[in-house]
Symmetry: D3
Subunit: 329 residues, 6 copies
């Protein structure tokens, strides 16, 4: 079989570090992790589960910065190399999009950023009547953000857009939830003609035995490849001492993303380093953004560690795809 190819654009400046000698993991950690400490800005208790995209000749991002009240906030950030980041000290203040009535800000967390057609879409877990659902906003410049309608009724989390229309419709993955530390979770696919009204919902992935037995949720924006949409996702196992979050990958059909082509039975990344095992929530790896370079097949993954800091890991498309196919559920 010919090797898997990224269908996106080239990104010569993608953050990168080769796999160290002796390591044969498919996904390997950046040696200088964490790249963003918990207190990079004065108000923050922790910075993690954040979104990053290439922008101009550098990078932009939206970051989850829990403040010292432990309230969950979204902040803009910028970086020349994708590794060293400057984050705005003030949280994003959303402007109502045209025709949308203003709402009071509650909280926002676990953002994803997706470029579609002519603008960036931000999705996140948004407070709606006090409950979590998927917030949606657009920006052209990461300075002004226009808040649109929430995509769904409560209760929902981990809304992740596809980077292009599929069958003429916008498309989103999400994970319906309950109101607390939800002990279950499946990934669903929904579509929309206008980014306001959503329907034709389909089940994509259920939990499965082992590291992903309690719940699964989509991570970075799906990556378009010659072999299908590559989705990195988190899976959760419940020990007698709480939730453990690991990372796996799945390939979804390009035209019908609800169809799972392959999905890793083993995890790809699991809490092991001290910064992943010790923090505000021990034993958490939560992937939330990816950069890709079509020229080399390199992928840089951003993930939150222990709900406290932001980290980087790397992999190569062909290896991930081969591993996913060969170790599929």
């Amino acid at each position: 079989m010919a090797s898997a190819r990224l269908l996106g654009t080239e990104l010569p400046g993608i953050p990168w570090e080769d796999r160290s000698d002796g390591c044969d993991d498919i996904v390997w950690r950046y040696s200088k992790n964490p790249i963003i400490p918990s207190d990079l800005i004065p108000s923050s208790n922790s910075i993690f589960n954040s979104a990053v995209v290439a922008y101009g000749d550098g990078f932009r991002g939206v970051f989850r910065c829990d403040d010292r009240r432990r309230m969950m906030q979204l902040h803009s950030g910028r970086s020349a190399d994708g590794v060293d980041w400057e984050i705005e000290h003030e949280r994003i203040r959303f402007v109502p999009a045209e025709g949308v009535e203003p709402t009071e800000w509650g909280y926002g967390y676990d953002p994803r950023v997706c470029f579609i057609e002519d603008r960036y879409y931000l999705t996140w877990c948004n407070s709606f009547a006090g409950w979590p659902t998927i917030g949606v906003a657009t920006t052209h410049d990461f300075e002004t953000y226009y808040q649109m309608e929430n995509a769904f009724l409560p209760f929902n989390r981990n809304g992740v857009l596809f980077p292009r229309r599929i069958g003429g419709m916008f498309a989103m993955l999400s994970r319906p939830s309950d109101r607390g530390h939800t002990p279950f979770g499946e990934i669903y696919y929904s579509e929309s003609p206008d980014m306001i009204h959503w329907g034709r919902h389909r089940l994509v992935m259920r939990p499965a035995a082992g590291w992903q037995a309690t719940k699964v949720g989509a991570g970075p924006i799906p990556i378009e490849t010659s072999e299908g949409w590559l989705v990195f996702y988190h899976g959760v196992l419940t020990s007698c001492n709480g939730f453990v979050y690991s990372m796996g990958a799945a390939l979804l059909d390009l035209d019908e993303p609800r169809r799972v082509i392959a999905r890793t039975e083993p995890y790809l990344l699991h809490p092991k380093e001290l910064y992943e095992r010790v923090g505000d929530v021990p034993n958490v790896i939560f992937p939330s953004a990816a950069l890709t370079d079509a020229a080399t097949g390199r992928i840089a993954l951003y993930y939150g560690a222990a709900d406290t800091v932001t980290c980087l890991a790397f992999c190569r498309l062909d290896e991930v795809v081969a591993f996913t196919r060969e170790n599929s559920l």
Copy 2:
């Protein structure tokens, strides 16, 4: 203030029985309750929480008939007077609407029927990937039903359509839930341009102290009146021996139904008769359909009792509206 008026059509054959002497309740029970016993058809364990509409010179309905496996099914029924019913022995077999892929039938319960423009819409709690959400179907004749897309992601119950477009959009109330005997529940408002894609979700009503402290959910199709949409709804209180379901009423703004004009602080109907207190689920009154006669202001309410049988109750529009305004939360 002039008296409240029903904005709908006349229905001279509406089932009716005058309030008995000495009774000063706003809503009173039919003296021959229950009108449908639990075993009207051979396969049924219980018949309750059902939908009824005027049709031709008689009545049609969709009934929740739990069978003797205790599986929840929907059956069609017909009646000349709205009191004596014939129910089909076979459950409804839905035909996929055009462009909708067939799905395997799981279960269906707590139906509502709503006429909009040119056809009847059926909504119910439908099994979607094994979880409850709002199913939608259309029929012209109560013989052939075309199943459309589910309106929402799981988990949802008590989806109740408005009988006309509002601001050019279809509109639905629903009660997001969890996967079991949900111990919480609020009523939300959603709208759709096409009955497929839903958005602009708004919170309408939260639980409130007393009989409606645990959860609230919409009952019959909202009734259009000169004073606003009249919504009968169920409220649930949790005793040390489980849930108790009672009925109240609310008035919603005609143009912006998310705005509550008034809402009963006391209940209007509460389990008291033996057939409401004793059955498969003791202490349940669950209103699910209403008939109205614009000429007289008469309202006939259908409700399930003890999750076992179907009952009738009556009231007059002007009295209900006055009571709701005067005893509002």
Copy 3:
């Protein structure tokens, strides 16, 4: 051993009905139960768990009347014979006692009334910062009630005063609880020099196997007898369908009521009649008041049934004491 004697006063007009032929129960029900229906006053959903005392040549009482919002309220009532009752349509409005700051009324339920020295004391489960604790008030005439300080911190229920000082101190039984449908409960004894400050708390009774396995709580005001304080109390067993409330009796030492002399291993009264088994909370017998006649040893017990109606039962002191001693835990 000489027969047990009541140490109180004579009450020739005590409600009474002899045990029916063939019945050999120690406590027997009134043949015309329930004596107070759930809707005796227009606003009430249910009337139960109420307090009664002899007053002048008749009787007075404080009644738990849950209204049609299902909010728990206290109402005054009067009766010539202790069986037929008139209840005020308006709830009691407490006047702050001297030196007590006014508080907002939340809810009140399960009252007890106790005459000590020169006035009547009312205790009940009172809303304190939204949580249940023991409220205290005084009255001379059952028209004006002076609300004193709450006796305890949250969370507490079933505060029952002794009818005289013991060792120079006021004395109360109570049942510390949690915030919901508490699944545990023991009876404690506390004393006070001034009816404001309470201390020297002692454990009196824990739950015991069988009908009283989940929790126990004092019922009517303790009855002073030659054999000790006679305390009727409720015990709760948890079935797979919820709580079942029955009634037993205990004898406490006259001088040190924390010492239990005897306590019924079997129950004395258990839900069996339809009005005890069916209602807002099925399977509840909740004793809350007693009248006694020292001349005859007659005792009339008032109890709530199914959290819905008020009932009467009868017994003779000597028989209850003998049974309690002979069937003690």
Copy 4:
């Protein structure tokens, strides 16, 4: 297919009442239910879930009599016609079998009686270190009972013996449980060479959708028929107000009872009469014994109702077998 035949003996005096006109239920109730009231003996609160066998020219049984402490006890009983019963006022006092050390009596409930080879075996839910497991005893005369070793470790309930050795081994069905109102339950098969040591455990039946969704447990002693072992069993569904117990039937392979030949998808009997719906535990039908007459194919079923009284129902073998096959899961 030839009609199903009972492989047991004739029992001309089997209690019997024909199906009433208009009734087409496979299993029908005795018109004079309940046959044993809750207070047949002075000490009892309730009498239910009991075992009955033919004995001499009459009948003997072991009865669950919860006393007025609500402690669960076993009592012997006798009857000439299987309908009118005399029950011993004193509970059974077990004598340790030879080589078994005496243990303190805790509680016993839900007995079954089974004749094997030369004696009657009694199994029941027995207190072991305070936890429920399966107790075993033998008797020849229903006067002296020899208590053997408990069959299993805690936690277990509903141990039901087969009436003959299978493959040379004693055989038992049971339902492993937890320590409380277990919300799960499957039927297992175990065998023993000596009625002391048990092994080769096999899963027989899991819960299934509908009335048997929460748990299932064997009822009467399996009935040997030409079509396999006929097992009546209870299934439990969980409503928002607690457990509902109904009855179904299964056919197990004669030589390998772990193999299920057929099993009713609908229930055969479901709480419907007031004595089944109202009692200490509402909505319970619990079958625990059966009598059979090989000459006529008549079966008389004894079941507990509402955990309060004992009832009778009837059916014919050929009809039950046909129904079970035609309505199998």
Copy 5:
């Protein structure tokens, strides 16, 4: 506004370390933390959540030393400089105060020590009938301790006395609880004429969004300042992996401490160091004692870390007061 002043005495020997360069936290950790390791005495598993006061020209304290049975014990300790501590190897053996009956020792934990008028009062979480409540004792020399009556009924924790009478009454803060790892908790104020009888209970502080969303409890003895009583307190947030304890501060009115003048919306100290994040209970900071020097405004805070070791932190009164006012809820 003039700067805040401590109203207490001077304490030149207060433990102290200046804020390190580059640190701009209001409260900063001692660089040699933890000051007391988990095994300072042979029997101890962990030493934390302890009380310290100035005494003579040195310091005395009462320490929570969980032994290697993991039983919670109280030990006396002494130190010349407040940093290096000697702890008695034997636990405190309380002597009943005059008129108090001896009780069996159960457990004691989370002590506070408060000097009032002429003696030291020790309060702690004491076993009462096996449940937690507030124990009280006095000492003059930290050698003999006289145990008084428990202040409250079960269930209570974190009883913290004020260092002088207020309005002529002794005063205490406490946090009513349940019997386990209580998932809720508010601070109440109570008063007493005699340190035996307690009453006039008032709510002071509820939980608030963020780091203090689950519960709050008072820490060190309130510090009297020109701006009000300064109370350091713990707040708890529940993650999917358990409780996280952080520290904030509040100012209470000098004359009516139930009135909250200001209260930190952000935390002042949050688990971040390895010794706070890793231990018997990860992610716990629990402040329990403070020393103050009126001459300089210096405050030394003692806190337990990870329920394992004892630590020190420092701050200045004027900075804490200013921060609390400027960042108040």
Copy 6:
């Protein structure tokens, strides 16, 4: 009293390291812990809770290797010195023992290995109908394993055999459990004539206050000594952040092991090192195997740490026995 003696054989090559200076713990850790890292074999996520025995002139073992799916597997291993281990990359594939029908492999964890008479017996927590129970297998060479019948019905864990028959019967300790992270657990004793049928179950040890308050379970194979069977066991305490596993010891009567002679009130080993406190499940010490040398009284203990790695600890028989007697519950 004469010093305790090991009744087993000599093992000159037992792994050993003397207690370090200044340490006076009864059980001390190996200075090079962990001896087996989490990723010793390519497929493993973690290696812990494993069984080791002397074999020939070296050692053999069965290891719990959770793979990168987090599925629990059993692997064989070998070592020359008991410290450096080679583990097979492939999991054990069991061969059905004669007369046992093959079953599908589910999962296996927490193995113990015991030599009895002429072969090695392996017991472990085995998947049976999807639930945990005690699996049993034999091997002569640690290459071929013959799987026998499961010892018990679900639900059970920590089945630990005695190394010889007692009273002519095989004997096993086990801990009945529920289906999840069981919040309770006691040790029971069972016996069998044939290693297939088990009976005569007896309670041996309940939880006790402190570090062993939630549950207790046997660890290594009981060690025969002149003073009784020495059983190292795990005890669990529940903090607000989950379970904490420590280790204690008990002495059981040689002839009647159900009789506990002594049992440590304090723990012997408690999570303290970073590799015990941080890992997939923080704060876990789980002893599962022991080697003994009768000549010197040396004992080497293998234990899992943090459900992640395998560790060694050492002690001397006479010291452990003396400590257990002197610090007994």
